[in-house]
């Protein structure tokens, strides 16, 4: 191997460091034995370096690859999907180290490392992760630079510094490219995260499900309103509309449950004041999007369904942003189709006989549907019902048990009982699941909706009014609707009981709360401008910035900004020649030498002034005197220190005159 192809020791050290820092954030997603592969690979390579072991042979390598693939298959049960692919990539990354011989292998390893950074972003786009991955990119680039410093065996900082400088210089160029590069949709379907848990509200609601979700302090989504933020009690974020009760659980109507004629969401005449806002969702791995009342969205990939909710055909796998226009006062479904009415009245044939009986009994007391709604709500208020985060488990006839025995429930219990009684009595009704309320961040005026804001309520269809929102929880625990969950369950002490370290539990400590809100505001900006940046936002942004979105503007902006950044870089790199400050006598002597060269006598680099003078005088006898005089003065100035400055200045002047005279004489 030529010296050029060898891998310097410090490059090897940087690469080993990268190996560990890159696998660290993935550690929770890959089988434990992959981490062992990393340790073994590094030990092996170090032993090879020390001359104790040798590189694995061809058969050993083949066996390693096969067993790694087999191991991944056994651990995940398949090789298809994002997680197994990433695990395979990470294993290959470690194994590549054991056969890292020359520079070519090092390139493969480093480029693979860059790719692994990207795989991390498919799982998390958190701000902290991004800082960490930026650090990894710096390490990888350092390894790449160190690879090209032959003979630099010591672990030095020069490669780190250069890599840092280059990345910093590249950064502004990257930002320009980031905002200008057209965001086109996916070109083909890619392996998805098959193994990540779905989070947030699920399309399967049984008593106890929402109260479970409400234990979590995670953020569900953040909302930024264009105008004023509506009142807290109006923040009903509709996500799922559950019209079907099957096997004791509520769910929404699936695409194939709806006949083709009913699938399209009718476009309604809006009334009342409209709201405009954008929502940034945290990944849920599910399809529902949240909005207030009757909503429309111009964001591509957002559908409106016939039960007036927003829906994403592809699961929300990463933070994503959509814009919404809502008109909460708009009347939805002034008339009900027969099919729709049937759906919203449907109940299982049997079960919960006491509840049904109660519903029919209460119905006889009411003379209208509206009055019946009030009667049922009244029933909840009059009887000793308790709103609790820790509802007891229910048996086969859950509503009978709830209404007549336990009387302790969370929002889904009340919504379930309410809708069931409505349907039994012939009033079309359905459960709506989503979130209620949210925390207003004073730093940037966004509304933060947490998982503990999860809520379920009901909608009933009343003649002349269409679908009307009814929240049975309000009849039991008005605090929940006015102040939020924390106040509603304050007496119970159950708020976030399972997350003692969540900063949300320390909202009463100003400093912690302020820090939390500031970080949340930063996260919001990050999501709005970076991770959630999409084609609509790009169009709007560029349109505002450039006046129009056209290819020629793009080219001008791209080249203009790049030139703006690259010119100073180039100048600092290339122009700042270290000028030797020549002594004045040296300068004059060089002028003299140039003169001589033009006259045909070139001073050789090794020639002393006197030797040159001798040669030049022989060649140009006409100028012999002048040549000797200049040389003598130059030597005197150069080699006789001590003369005072006035005298030297005088001598310099004379030397300059002599040289000039010689120039004129020729």
């Amino acid at each position: 191997m030529t010296p050029e192809q060898q891998v310097p020791r410090n490059a090897l050290a940087w690469m080993i460091l990268c190996l560990f820092t890159l696998v660290a954030p993935h550690a929770g997603r890959i089988p434990f034995w992959v981490l062992l592969v990393y340790v073994v690979a590094v030990v092996w390579r170090i032993q090879v370096y020390r001359g104790h072991w040798s590189f694995p042979g061809r058969w050993v390598k083949l066996a390693l690859i096969l067993s790694a693939t087999g191991g991944i298959f056994l651990s995940f049960g398949s090789l298809i999907g994002l997680e197994p692919t990433v695990a395979l990539l990470l294993t290959a990354f470690a194994l590549k180290l054991t056969e890292l011989v020359g520079r070519k292998d090092a390139y493969v390893l480093i480029f693979l490392g860059y790719f692994i950074c990207i795989t991390e972003f498919l799982f998390s786009q958190d701000l902290l992760i991004v800082f960490y991955m930026a650090f990894n990119v710096l390490l990888l680039t350092t390894a790449l630079v160190a690879l090209h410093q032959p003979g630099e065996q010591r672990f030095n900082r020069s490669s780190l510094r250069l890599a840092g400088v280059m990345l910093l210089q590249a950064f502004p160029l990257m930002v320009v490219l980031f905002f200008l590069f057209p965001r086109i949709g996916p070109l083909w379907t890619v392996p998805i995260k098959s193994h990540s848990a779905k989070t947030g509200m699920s399309d399967f609601l049984r008593p106890g499900d929402v109260s479970n979700l409400s234990q979590s302090a995670e953020v569900a989504f953040r909302v930024e309103f264009d105008g004023e933020i509506p009142a807290f009690t109006d923040l009903y974020w509709r996500g799922l509309v559950m019209s079907r009760l099957e096997d004791g659980a509520w769910r929404s109507l699936r695409y194939w449950d709806v006949p083709p004629g009913e699938r399209r969401a009718p476009v309604l005449d809006t009334s009342g004041e409209g709201l405009e806002y954008s929502v940034i969702m945290e990944p849920t791995q599910q399809n529902w999007l949240y909005s207030l009342g009757y909503s429309r969205s111009a964001t591509s990939g957002v559908m409106e369904l016939s039960d007036y909710r927003l829906y994403s055909p592809v699961a929300v796998e990463q933070e994503s942003q959509y814009r919404v226009q809502s008109w909460p006062d708009t009347r939805r479904d002034p008339t009900l189709t027969d099919w729709r009415r049937t759906q919203e009245l449907r109940l299982p044939e049997t079960g919960n006989p006491l509840t049904r009986e109660l519903a029919l009994e209460l119905k006889t007391q009411a003379d209208s549907d509206q009055a019946f709604v009030d009667t049922v709500l009244n029933y909840f208020t009059r009887n000793p019902f308790v709103y609790t985060l820790q509802p007891p488990l229910l048996g086969d006839d859950p509503m009978d048990q709830f209404l007549f025995q336990t009387r302790r429930g969370f929002c889904e219990h009340y919504a379930y009982a309410f809708v069931m009684m409505m349907r039994e009595a012939g009033v079309p009704a359905r459960i709506v699941a989503g979130y209620m309320g949210g925390e207003v961040n004073p730093v940037n005026r966004t509304v933060i909706v947490h998982q503990f804001d999860a809520h379920a309520w009901a909608e009933v269809w009343l003649d002349g009014q269409g679908w009307v929102r009814v929240d049975p929880t309000a009849a039991v625990a008005p605090d929940r609707i006015e102040w939020g969950l924390e106040q509603a369950v304050a007496g119970e002490g159950s708020f976030l009981a399972q997350s003692p370290l969540s900063p949300l539990r320390y909202r009463n400590i100003d400093l912690i709360n302020m820090l939390r809100l500031r970080y949340d505001a930063l996260t919001y900006s990050w999501q709005a401008w970076v991770t959630g940046f999409n084609s609509e936002q790009q169009y709007e942004f560029l349109n505002n910035l450039l006046g129009e979105v056209s290819a020629s503007r793009f080219v001008v902006v791209l080249l203009g900004t790049w030139a703006l950044v690259l010119t100073p870089v180039a100048l600092s790199l290339l122009m700042r020649r270290r000028r030797h400050r020549l002594a004045p006598e040296d300068r004059q002597y060089l002028v003299f030498c140039e003169r001589m060269a033009r006259m045909g006598v070139v001073r050789e680099p090794w020639e002393s002034p006197s030797a040159f003078a001798g040669r030049a005088a022989r060649k140009l006898p006409r100028f012999a005197e002048q040549i000797d005089a200049i040389t003598a003065r130059y030597e005197a100035l150069s080699y006789q220190p001590g003369a005072d400055s006035d005298e030297r200045a005088q001598q310099h002047r004379e030397l300059r005159q002599q040289v000039r005279r010689l120039q004129l004489a020729y």
Partner: protein
């Protein structure tokens, strides 16, 4: 066949065209400072591989609609762009001085000495130097202002050996770009005639012995010491004395200068020029080894008999350059 000939002709024409262009662009000089006229830059093979990787990353970013993946892909793309400047700067401002070329006999390796000087206080790494037929050198200029590089190349026949254009290239710092230059340093190695032994010196031209006793080398009798003078053979140096801390002295041997040999062109009557020169060369080396006093008489050059390393070099140089024009 005909096509091949045409192709070959075309290729040659192109090559000569290219050589002319390079000659115009980078004329021969003893010292060359690299600037934008002399430096060429293009993505290396690794650079193209890197492009492939970037494309793969871009595909991942598009298909997963992941903005951070876009960001990293673009950061690496622009790192490449910035790398153009840094790779270029690694060669820019370097000055390459031709120091000297050692003379050699045909078939031997001549040593070429270069000096690389940096223009400003920045380190230069992985400078790869090579003449078309020479060995390679891989050097850094880090922490010092100049380095000396020695390259060796096998020389051809008698006369001036031109090693061609020096290739100086580097892929530092990222390896994604290759930056290079071809410079003609105007550095020529002198190639002596190939020594050809002949059993005896034919027609040995002996001057009349004058019988004066002069200290000449090659005699057996020790005569005395004198201070070392330039030109004294290193074999005469009194090393033991030097080791004892005395001044550098040469040993003198006494003999009667009964003969000083003239190496004469006409000694090898009937032979071709090259053969004559080869024989003369052989005898010059032999006589020098034996510390004989010898002179050289060839058409156009007469060198008076004397001895010593300097003398030998002078004689060999005259033989090497017989009938050779000044180097082009």
């Amino acid at each position: 066949m005909g096509g091949g000939v045409i192709d070959g002709g075309l290729k040659q024409r192109w090559q000569s065209r290219f050589r002319e262009w390079v000659n115009r662009r980078i004329p021969p000089a003893r010292s060359v400072t690299l600037d934008q006229r002399r430096i060429f830059i293009f993505p290396s093979r690794v650079g193209f591989f890197f492009f492939g990787c970037l494309l793969l990353m871009l595909m991942a970013a598009i298909n997963y609609e992941n903005n951070l993946a876009f960001g990293l892909t673009f950061l690496l793309t622009t790192l490449f762009v910035v790398g153009v400047l840094h790779t270029y700067a690694n060669l820019s401002g370097l000055t390459i001085h031709a120091v000297r070329a050692q003379s050699a006999f045909p078939g031997q390796q001549a040593e070429f000495e270069l000096r690389l000087e940096r223009g400003k206080r920045r380190d230069h790494y992985a400078l790869h130097l090579k003449w078309p037929d020479s060995d390679e050198a891989l050097e850094n200029i880090a922490g010092e202002d100049a380095i000396t590089v020695r390259l060796h190349t096998a020389v051809g026949e008698r006369g001036w050996y031109n090693p061609g254009r020096l290739l100086l290239e580097s892929t530092y710092p990222l390896g994604l770009l290759r930056c290079w230059t071809w410079i003609d340093l105007d550095l020529r190695a002198l190639v002596y005639p190939r020594p050809l032994s002949s059993p005896a010196l034919p027609g040995l031209a002996q001057d009349q012995p004058d019988g004066t006793a002069v200290p000449i080398p090659g005699s057996d009798d020790f005569y005395g010491f004198r201070d070392y003078r330039e030109g004294d053979s290193l074999r005469q140096v009194y090393w033991k004395g030097l080791a004892r801390g005395q001044a550098l002295q040469s040993k003198q041997y006494a003999a009667y200068a009964d003969r000083s040999v003239w190496l004469d062109w006409d000694m090898f009557e009937g032979l071709g020029t090259e053969q004559r020169l080869s024989h003369l060369c052989y005898w010059a080396i032999t006589l020098d080894r034996d510390n004989e006093e010898y002179g050289l008489r060839i058409p156009g050059v007469v060198i008076q008999p004397t001895w010593g390393d300097k003398h030998r070099d002078e004689v060999l140089r005259a033989l090497a350059l017989h009938g050779v024009e000044r180097p082009r």
